[in-house]
């Protein structure tokens, strides 16, 4: 039972099951995220982490289980409906507006968050509120200098930053980041660390991350998944010492560290 004095969780997942053709990708996954919490999910490839994200944002429908966000069940809501409630995600593989500039990429997400997408006359790109969001997010993800570069001409690292930037520009209450540092060189990981540390504490985050140093730096708590199941949950310090975690995973991350 939860401590009644603690604030209610921003996100609660109960018994989430998903299978493709008889193969379980997630199995009875449950977790609760406190407001402002930064949760890192660890696990080997194929553990079901990205599938969990897809279930959370609605790109997949679970076979069983329930998702509650801000006290409201959202299991049956569509992707855009969940996004409007305040869930945003970034993708492991870049999923950007390739033919547009970085500014336009951020502006589209900002316009969506402001609900300024329906007018047939007014141009949301001239909306000062939107411009403020774009400028702020650009600073948060270190893209201010190259806002008018087209995405297809931007470097891979910049695209990874933009990947997070689009999610941020959607002004989420809950940010899901799927391996933000995937594929970037070791030199840039420190930058991502700074970027995440600098994000407002009020923003709740779930991060799938393979870089252990970054994970332990950022995380308030860590969830470890294996073969579709949550096998461990605890503070970063406990994680290194947990026997199960060591057994399935540690060898791998020692290599990283």
């Amino acid at each position: 039972m939860r401590d009644t004095s603690a604030p209610p969780p921003i996100l609660e997942v109960r018994g989430l099951d998903k299978s493709f053709g008889g193969i379980h990708v997630t199995r009875r996954v449950s977790l609760a995220l406190a407001p402002g919490e930064r949760r890192v999910i660890l696990g080997p490839n194929g553990a079901g982490k990205t599938t969990l994200f897809n279930l959370l944002v609605g790109e997949l429908r679970p076979g069983a289980g329930e998702i509650v966000f801000l006290g409201q069940p959202i299991t049956r809501l569509s992707v855009p409906a969940r996004a409007r409630l305040g869930i945003a995600r970034s993708y492991q593989k870049n999923n950007l507006f390739e033919e547009l500039t970085i500014r336009e990429n951020l502006a589209l997400a900002a316009a969506a968050s402001l609900g300024d997408t329906r007018s047939f006359f007014r141009d949301c790109f001239r909306n000062p509120e939107l411009r403020a969001i774009v400028d702020e997010v650009a600073e948060q993800v270190f893209l201010t200098e190259i806002l008018d570069t087209e995405v297809r001409n931007a470097s891979y690292g910049n695209r990874r930053q933009l990947e997070v930037g689009i999610a941020l520009a959607a002004r989420p209450k809950l940010l899901l980041m799927d391996e933000p540092t995937s594929g970037v060189g070791p030199g840039m990981i420190e930058g991502f660390n700074r970027m995440m540390q600098a994000l407002p504490r009020s923003l709740s985050m779930v991060i799938i991350e393979h870089d252990m140093d970054l994970a332990f730096d950022v995380a308030d708590r860590i969830t470890v998944m294996n073969q579709g199941e949550v096998v461990f949950e605890g503070a970063p310090a406990e994680t290194r010492d947990n026997a199960t975690v060591r057994e399935i995973y540690l060898g791998d991350w020692q290599g990283h560290a």
Binding site: S78, E98, L108, A111, T117, R118, F120
Partner: protein, 329 residues
Amino acid sequence: MFRQTPIRTGAGIALIAGLAIHASRGGYFDREIVIEIAILAMLAISLDIVAGFGRMISLCHGAIFGLAAYGYGTAIVKFGLPPSTGLVIGIALAIAFGALVGAICAGTVGIFYIMATLAFGQIAYVLIFESRWLGGDDGMTGVRRMDLSLIGLNMRDSLTFALVCLAVLVLVYIAAAVVLRSSFGRTLSGIHANEARMRAVGINTRMHKTAAFAFSAALAGIAGVLKAQHTMFVSPELLFWTLSGEVLIIVILGGIGTLIGPAIGATLLVLLKHEVSHYTVYWHVVVGAVLILAVLAGGRGLFGEFEYRLARWRARRRARRGTGGAADA
């Protein structure tokens, strides 16, 4: 993302001015050609909105166009309503059909979208073709033009009609440009660039695409109503899928996603067809070859290619100037 660049404005003004001069100085047939160009250009612009800015390759814009023409004609011929009411009915019919098809097809993509719109367009065609009440394949005669004598326009005069069509073309272009530059249009361009990501940031893309299709249908409807007034006659060919294909060709030849390109493409195709048919009855082979070459050349179309080269030239010049340290004017 749509930008009304000075180049586009200039090209648009030059095109309209050229057509207007051609109409006023040329003979009767030149005016007919200008009218045909103007109406096809409207239809092509309307198709470019969905195809070039929303990734919805429609093969039913001919059907929308034809339905509006029939709506206008039926209101006048069968119900004896005044042409102004016919205008409203025609455009409303186009919007209703567009919204319906747009909503149903919004979930499909790529070749499936093309096929689905083709199917709905053909259903409309077959129903009209087989309706004896609407005259079946013989079509419907007795469609009057609007009476604009109150504002001093004699619509039966071919020059006046041609100039009215050009004016409407300008309005259609402006409407399209305004909407594409609006919040709605920006979001549509976002869907064009990456529909999944737009959903992920909270856009109900199905509704958005449906609304865009309905807006495009409204413009196609305006073109259809003008077509009915131009020929003063409607027949089922207006709805046949090959017209939709022809409009798609126009959009591609002119430059998809450039908005002014399709208007240029309409001019090009109509002139090409008329020039070629002076020399041979086998104009299909010429149009087909031009289309194939246009796609093989990169598919940017005439105006798109021009903009592309201009942009590259400017970038190179900027780079040269940059290294040379000279200040840009």
